[in-house]
């Protein structure tokens, strides 16, 4: 590799050819201010905040997309540079609502941060600014184009990471806007509601449709029995709301929910163990009959939306298992209601999810009881729950630990790992091997399917049989693997698909990266800390195979009979259908 010598501020530095000035400056500790740049996305050059001075160049250059050259002399700071960056930021603010006090991103907004850091103080500009209505009646995503600064990170994440290409920049000049094709509502576009645009947006131009008002109402309604469940990826991320990274805060989360006034606190992990029972059964059936292979997992509603919009011809291959959230909610209004003698109509069922697409999933007609009420009444993101805990003045960090309630509270290590890419696969393998061989697998850790990377293939040997498996996260990777199957290039028995890059740990509803630190949204360090916490929950559990969960055994004995039984089929399985508009492949 060719090395390039250059000088940045007072430092001589040698970097490989092809390095950008910004990357080189980072190496000497000069963090050039930036806004549209994101390390995992293509470089766009939309904001020009990252300008630097290069000796011999007439104009400032954008450091994020200018490559280093031999002998270059770069200055990252000067009075003129600072002034120009401030001017550029002020221009953005002149066209911005500046509603920080009442804004969802207040305290956590890259634009707010940047303007503070660059020294923007009073702003008296009173000219016209762009006006767009807020699109707030969607099922999952709120789009507030007035807060958009046209950095196009969302356009890039949606295309490059998710392969959805739902967003694009439209029109020009004052009326420029980022929106789906035909400026249709998000609900009427090919959006699969993963919420990654919310994650990467530096402002509040994208946010989740909040359900916390409804939940507070239910909590203060004495006629309602309010039940809540917590997804596997919440407990390892929630403490970030109090700046604590990579810890398992299960006990404190349960205690906080108790103090918020929930009547029963269940674990989505129980639903995950149940999902494995049903899904392993489905897999073994399909393998025995050699039909409808590969089995495509169905826990990620973002992936399901993607399949329905882009690959409807794959619907017959998808597992019919409801997601762990829906399994748990369904049992809350059937099994639990019967046990407690409560009319299911008086139960309000809340799910805490790291996910935006879950808000959509909860409202799907397929997930309504025959009597006409939804099994899940409201879905809160990790961010919304953090806010509710703070709003109630609960001192989260110093809370004692509390346990989930019976009968839907006990779970295994296999369920814990549902929250990360590869986890559903590993959990399924543990139970499938037990069922196929009658013996517990000798080693429960399937490192071959654990990965933070987006696509992994492996071959697992069971009883002399070879099981071809694949794990994909980020839907651009799902496209790759599905195209391989459709072209006949490769055959698999089971494929785990999750919409978000890294799995639910990096879901669209997870805490935003800390403000005022040089950390990007979806930072791999943060995601891998969440993952590590998940794996430690798994390894600390004495029971790590779903089929051995005593509460699962009990519910089959008392209520569900056996995996794939008629009642299990009616309550725990679902259907999918083709969606329009169809995505372009």
């Amino acid at each position: 590799m060719n090395m390039i010598n250059l000088k940045i501020d007072d430092f001589d530095i040698q970097v490989p050819e092809g390095t950008t000035i910004m990357q080189a400056a980072d190496k000497v500790g000069a963090h050039v201010p930036r806004l549209c740049y994101h390390p995992y996305l293509s470089t766009d050059g939309a904001c020009r905040i990252c300008i630097v001075e290069v000796e011999g160049y007439r104009n400032f250059v954008a450091s994020c997309h200018t490559l280093v050259a031999e002998g270059m002399k770069v200055r990252t700071n000067s009075a003129e540079l600072r002034q120009t960056r401030r001017d550029l930021t002020e221009l953005l603010l002149d066209n911005h609502p500046r509603a920080c006090l009442t804004c969802d991103r207040d305290g956590n907004c890259e634009l707010q941060n940047l303007s503070y850091r660059l020294g923007v103080r009073d702003r008296l500009f009173a000219g016209d600014r762009k006006r767009f209505p807020i699109e707030k009646d969607n099922t999952a995503i709120v789009r507030d184009a007035e807060k958009c600064i046209l950095c196009r990170r969302c356009v890039r994440v949606c295309a490059e990471v998710q392969g959805v290409y739902n967003l694009s920049q439209m029109y020009r000049g004052f009326t420029t806007v980022v929106a789906p094709a035909f400026e249709s509502k998000m609900d009427e576009s090919v959006c699969i509601m993963c919420g990654q645009c919310i994650n990467v947006c530096p402002t509040a131009a994208f946010s989740e449709k909040s359900h916390y008002d409804e939940v507070f109402d239910a909590l203060s309604n004495p006629k309602k029995h309010v039940v809540v469940q917590v997804a596997p990826a919440i407990r390892v991320a929630i403490a970030e709301g109090w700046d604590i990274l990579g810890v398992d805060a299960t006990g404190k989360t349960v205690e906080a929910l108790r103090r918020l006034g929930f009547d029963a606190i269940f674990d989505t992990n129980f639903g995950a163990d149940l999902t494995i029972m049903e899904e392993a059964n489905e897999l073994i059936n399909r393998i025995e009959k050699n039909e409808k292979l590969p089995l495509l997992t169905s826990c990620s509603p973002g992936w399901i939306n993607f399949m329905e919009h882009f690959y409807p011809e794959m619907i017959p291959y998808a597992s019919t298992c409801k997601s762990p959230m829906q399994m748990t909610s369904t049992l809350v209004k059937t099994y639990y209601a019967q046990k407690k003698g409560i009319d299911p109509k008086d139960i309000y069922s809340v799910a805490i999810m790291p996910c935006i697409a879950k808000k959509y999933e909860a409202g799907r007609q397929e997930h309504f009881a025959p009597e006409g009420y939804p099994y899940t009444d409201a879905v809160l993101t990790t961010r919304e729950l953090i806010w509710m805990i703070k709003a109630m003045g609960i001192d989260f960090v110093n809370l004692p630990d509390s346990d989930f309630d019976d009968p839907l509270g006990e779970s295994t290590g296999a369920a814990a790992i549902f929250g990360t890419t590869g986890g559903v696969m590993e959990a399924a393998l543990r139970t499938a091997i037990l069922k196929l061989t009658g013996k517990k697998p000798e080693n429960l850790d399937f490192y071959d399917v654990r990965a933070i990377e987006g696509l992994k293939e492996a071959t697992i040997k069971i009883n002399g049989m070879e099981l071809n498996v694949a794990v994909a996260n980020g839907l651009a990777n799902a496209r790759k693997i599905l195209d391989k199957i459709q072209s006949g290039e490769k055959q698999f028995h089971i494929i785990e698909l999750m919409a978000c890059p890294g799995g639910c740990v990096a879901g669209g509803g997870q805490p935003h990266q800390p403000a005022e630190q040089f950390v990007y949204p979806l930072d791999t360090h943060i995601i891998s800390q969440r993952q590590a916490a998940i794996y430690s929950i798994d390894s600390n559990k004495s029971i790590r195979i779903s089929a051995e969960n005593p509460s699962i055994k009990k519910i089959y004995k008392e209520f569900l009979k056996k995996p794939g039984s008629e009642i299990a089929h009616n309550l725990l399985h679902t259907t999918y259908s083709e969606k329009y508009p169809r995505g372009v492949k």
Binding site: N166, S168, M170, Y171, A181, F182, V190, S487, E578, K585
Partner: protein
Amino acid sequence: MRDITHLNITLDKSIVDYIEECRQKEHPESYLIAVLHKVQGIYGFLSEDHMYEVAHLLGVPTSTVYGVATFYHFFRLKPKGKYSISICMGTACFVKGADLVLQSFKNELGIDIKETTSDGLFSLEGTRCLGVCALAPVVTINDEVFGNVTPNQVPEILIKVKSIDKQAQ
């Protein structure tokens, strides 16, 4: 992989064939603008259905097609009105107040340039010099030429066109 079996194709066969030709070339997506030109050439504007079909046939995301269609001034997204009003924006007309005339049309009709009234009757365009500078400012409505137009004549002109339209029915 391209799957267009779900598409109900309404585009003219010549366009479908042209897109097929583009698909054989190295970067089919780079022919998007050329394809859109052909669509507008035949239909006079780009309808949502047609853009959706182009996206699927050419294999370019629908959002990209719409982004391109809205970025370039020469694409129109709505059909022209039954009466297409063109205001000459050539130098002579401009100095003589064509912009004020245009503004008056905009106010009266409640539409902008390249838009069409909701009843489909009128659409507005700005055009280059029509070569009748002696009559500046000049407005044409379909084939009829109006010369020396002042902003306050605009309501009158519109009433006249409407009554002619009524009689014709």
